[in-house]
């Protein structure tokens, strides 16, 4: 992000106690922030103002955040980050399913919010990466559902993976059979939780291997290419809905 074009944000939250200091904080970080205390106000703001990104509280009196989010994503194609007080996994999934780009759980670290705003904008600026193609991937009986970030093995057993591992695996699945050097992987994987990815790519690869390889010392999926990086060896297909 360069300083020439200021980033416009719309912050929608009914709690003035959070909205005002957050707007101030974001302004100090160099964003241009407009505030709205309800979904209705947000809708009227949007008539003459097109933000680059919307920060949206879910629980609000009147029209709630999820409903407004659906409208913003479908009608306006605007990136949305949900602010939610609930931490339950199902709430997060609903938020992502209706098209929000990310969510943060209150109370969040303001710096993390800024990192996520930048990361969502970065991805939005790269349409080539098919940000919104959330069709599940399949490889040798395994499945990766990008929406739920759920990896299942050929028996249908869920295999927990961290966000970093998910991004790494997705990068491999998007580019099967290609040699990916460490810098490229780092670049592709650096996302919302950039700080989680401080560790070397090698470390993340070995973690991912521990979870998906039968024998992580003799990997069959993620192969090391001497001097070059890594290569995903299996065939990958996209699984359309209704197809197993």
């Amino acid at each position: 992000m360069n300083d020439t074009a200021p980033i416009n944000l719309l912050l929608v939250d009914d709690e003035a106690g959070l909205r005002e200091p957050l707007a101030e904080y974001l302004a100090r970080q160099g964003f241009v922030v407009r505030e709205a205390e309800s979904a209705a106000v947000a809708r009227s703001e949007l008539l003459d103002f097109t933000p680059d990104l919307i920060l949206l509280d879910i629980m609000m009196p009147g029209e709630d955040g999820l409903s407004l989010c659906r409208h913003l994503v479908e009608a306006r194609k605007l990136p949305v980050i949900l602010l939610t007080a609930k931490g339950e996994a199902t709430d997060r999934i609903i938020g992502l399913e209706i098209g929000a780009d990310d969510y943060v759980v209150k109370p969040f670290e303001p710096r993390e919010l800024v990192a996520r705003i930048r990361s969502v904008l970065r991805r939005a600026a790269r349409p080539a990466e098919q940000v919104h193609d959330d069709t599940p991937y399949g490889f040798e009986g395994w499945q990766l559902d990008p929406l739920k970030r759920k990896l299942t093995d050929p028996d249908g057993t869920v295999v927990s993976i961290s966000t970093a591992e998910f991004r790494l695996l997705r990068a491999f699945l998007d580019h099967p059979k290609q040699v990916m050097d460490r810098d490229r992987l780092l670049d592709m994987v650096q996302g919302r939780e950039a700080h989680l990815f401080d560790r070397a790519v090698d470390n993340q690869v070995s973690r991912l291997r521990r979870k998906i390889e039968r024998d992580s010392r003799n990997p069959t999926f993620v192969l090391t290419v001497r001097g070059g990086g890594y290569r995903f060896a299996a065939d990958v297909r996209r699984i359309k809905a209704g197809q197993d």
Partner: protein, 458 residues
């Protein structure tokens, strides 16, 4: 095999059967006794009549008279003889003698001597002296029939008059008809009871199933429809109302918890944003840690209150990957947590909850024991998620207390160590939610070992 049925239906049916058996046995015995008495009386009467009707002239002539027509034992009328009718080795039937004496005296017969005994027809000397009769008896398979043999000396007469009366064949029919009668009554009674009781037990069983599933997960299925007799209907109605009330309370609780969570987390979020304005880096870090502590306690409290409410459905998960991903979270925060053995074990679990339990155990180990070693293993069919530390452990007598809410290892509520003391309570609740348990033990080599033990999947 257990003989005493455990179900209401079985117990009632068995009780009916037993009662019926006792009653029918008593009545069978009584009937049999009455029949036996009648039989005895009839024989004695026959014998008496023969003595009374015996013509004195024939007796005096010393001839014994055998009725010429007819056959079998009935033909033996009366014999006059000088020999004692009781054979050597035979016992006299005192009861019969006594009864016969009364009968004869009532008819005005002067009794000199009276004897009576019971003997097998084939042993009787008179019958044995008549080969044709004997042969016929044996042919007809009457050989085992017995006779009442009575001898009378009238007045001073030296001669015995001997009368032989055959006992009627034993009445096997009586017992048979009692058994048939018992069976018929039993079938009718049991059938009726079965129909009646099923009207009670069927809705009761439905109610039991429903209560069990409600107790397990408050699953909102169809309520049991009131059925059966009025008492049972009322019970089911009352149960349904109670269920609805409990559900309303639980829903209220969920709404309330949601509101508490929202209302507390929003100001916390505001606070978290405001402290970014604090210039002093160290001061700001302390404030952030404080807010994080409050948030964690709040999450623990809310989770503990919510646990048991159907939320996340269990999913078959690779526990090795689950344990590894929790350990990696700690590694990413540069905490001294290591993963030892991790067998590949797949079980249906609620992943977010189980991760949370494990996270609590690991952060406890790190907080009080300095470092944590995590392993996943199978032990006698159970799956064990084990977290060990090298700290001071917990005094043996306090191990159980540790699972109670708001209990912490050291008695001083040290701010530095943080937490509301709900970590272990929550971990135990989660383990139990999965049908397992949380076990705490001091390691012999020092330090605490906390284990979540999960049963095998059904």
């Amino acid at each position: 095999m257990r003989l005493w049925p455990r179900s209401f239906l079985g117990q009632v049916l068995l009780a009916v059967a037993l009662a019926l058996l006792v009653a029918q046995t008593i009545s069978a015995v009584l009937l049999w006794q009455a029949a036996e008495n009648r039989r005895q009386a009839a024989i004695l009467n026959t014998a008496a009549i023969r003595f009374v009707t015996a013509p004195p002239d024939r007796i005096e002539r010393g001839t014994h008279r055998i009725r010429p027509r007819g056959g079998g034992l009935r033909a033996l009328r009366i014999e006059t003889t000088a020999t004692d009718p009781i054979l050597p080795g035979e016992t006299r039937d005192r009861d019969a003698e006594h009864a016969l004496r009364e009968l004869l005296e009532a008819q005005g017969i002067r009794i000199g001597q009276l004897v009576a005994t019971r003997r097998m027809a084939t042993d009787d000397p008179l019958i044995r002296s008549r080969p044709r009769l004997l042969a016929r008896l044996q042919r007809r398979n009457n050989a085992n029939r017995s006779l009442l043999v009575a001898g009378l000396k009238r007045g001073e007469s030296p001669q015995w008059e001997v009368v032989r009366v055959p006992f009627p064949r034993p009445q096997r029919g009586v017992i048979g008809s009692i058994i048939i009668q018992t069976l018929v009554i039993y079938i009718v009674l049991v059938g009726l009871h079965f129909l009646l009781l099923r009207r009670i037990t069927r809705p009761l069983r439905a109610l039991t199933t429903r209560t069990e599933s409600f107790a397990r997960n408050q699953d909102r299925g169809e309520p049991v429809s009131p059925d059966g007799p009025d008492d049972v209907r009322r019970l089911i109605g009352a149960h349904n109302r109670m269920e609805a009330r409990i559900e309303a309370l639980l829903n209220e609780k969920d709404v309330m918890l949601g509101a508490i969570g929202h209302d507390l987390k929003t100001p916390l979020a505001a606070l978290r944003v405001r402290i970014e304005a604090v210039e002093d880096e160290a001061e700001r870090a302390r404030m952030a840690a404080g807010i994080e502590d409050i948030t964690r306690s709040l999450d623990d409290i809310l989770s503990l209150a919510r646990i048991g409410r159907a939320g996340e459905p269990p999913e078959r998960a690779d526990l090795a990957a689950l344990v590894a991903s929790v350990v990696e979270e700690f590694e990413d925060m540069n905490q001294p947590v290591t993963l030892r053995d991790a067998d590949r074990i797949a079980l249906p679990v609620q992943m977010t909850w189980l991760k949370r339990a494990l996270r609590n155990l690991i952060s406890n180990a790190v907080r009080y024991g300095g470092e944590a070693e995590v392993s996943l293993l199978r032990e006698s069919r159970q799956t064990v998620l084990r977290v060990e530390d090298k700290g001071p452990g917990i005094p043996g007598e306090r191990l159980d207390d540790m699972l109670e809410p708001f209990t912490r290892g050291e008695t001083s509520r040290n701010r530095e160590t943080g937490g509301a003391g709900l970590g272990l309570t929550l971990a135990r609740a989660i383990a139990e939610q999965h049908g397992g348990q949380l076990a705490l033990a001091n390691r012999p080599e020092g330090g605490l070992r906390a284990e979540i033990r999960l049963p095998p999947a059904d």
